[in-house]
Symmetry: C2
Subunit: 139 residues, 2 copies
DNA sequence: CTCGGAAACAGGAATGGTTACTGATCACCA
DNA sequence: TGGTGATCAGTAACCATTCCTGTTTCCGAG
């Protein structure tokens, strides 16, 4: 199964397991990249044409809150979702929009240092990386 | 003067110096924080009620391209602009939206390590930090 | 198993930041 | 100073996302 104790994880945060939420999770694993909400919507729709886009947005936000999926946001581009909830770097091509992972780079305790240098209660510290992918450099 | 050789810097990239672009720059320095395009627009409008919001957007984007100003983007919030073009960390309160600087935290060559671990040509690597500001923690 | 109330959903309208478009105006070099 | 390409004002359009409303689904208590 895709996520063990899925129902239990949702219930612990006061949510219920619905077929739509399961379908969104399955679509996310099928997409195997960094799909946007709309990408997920299109995949879910292939099997269940009656799902609403708003439902996909809501399901993604619930799944993220529960900690089953992660999201990243680049300016001028829809939010991308990811089954990989471990801290890791992704880079987005400013020309074609493709997102891929940057392996082997650790942030080295930057978040910890941020916490020690601000009176804010830090809730999120993400690296947003942009560039030109190999294919777009050549063209 | 706010920026020496302003005209020259614009000209070098093929742009001209206009009163609107100068006004946007002045508004940005008056705002003294991390204003959004609309914040800048409202300030500029006080002295020149005929400016259009679109002009402010275009001016900000030109000034950024030329390297006179910087911008940062948090999800679910308009892009913020800044006269400080040196690499530095800013944190945004997820409750009231206020942005302030996190002093004394260096990224320690993370960008260099990213460049060495991706086939992309990196054009931008920013840290996006969110949290609760002291005032919002108490309330 | 089944019933009732709470949660979630479908469909579509609304929102908000940003960009695109068009005819009028301006900046600047010859 | 005059011409021309860049820029502007005003406004419409765009797109990702959220909101709204009536209907359906989920699931724990019995």
């Amino acid at each position: 199964m895709l996520v063990p104790d899925l129902r239990e994880k949702l219930r612990r945060s006061g949510y219920t397991l619905t077929s739509q939420r399961r379908a969104v999770l399955e679509a996310l694993s099928k997409a195997k990249g960094h799909p946007s909400a709309e990408d997920v919507y299109l995949i879910v729709k292939r099997e269940n044409p009656r799902v609403a886009l708003g439902t996909v947005y809501q399901a993604l936000s619930v799944l993220e809150e529960v900690g089953i999926i992660g999201s990243k946001h680049w300016a001028e581009s829809p939010t991308r979702y990811d089954l990989n909830v471990e801290p890791h770097l992704d880079i987005r091509c400013i020309s074609c929009g493709e997102v891929s992972e940057v392996p082997g780079v650790a942030l080295g305790g930057v978040e910890e240092r941020i916490r020690n240098n601000t009176p804010y209660r830090v809730t999120r510290a993400t690296m947003v990386v942009e560039g030109l992918c190999p294919a777009c450099i050549d063209s």
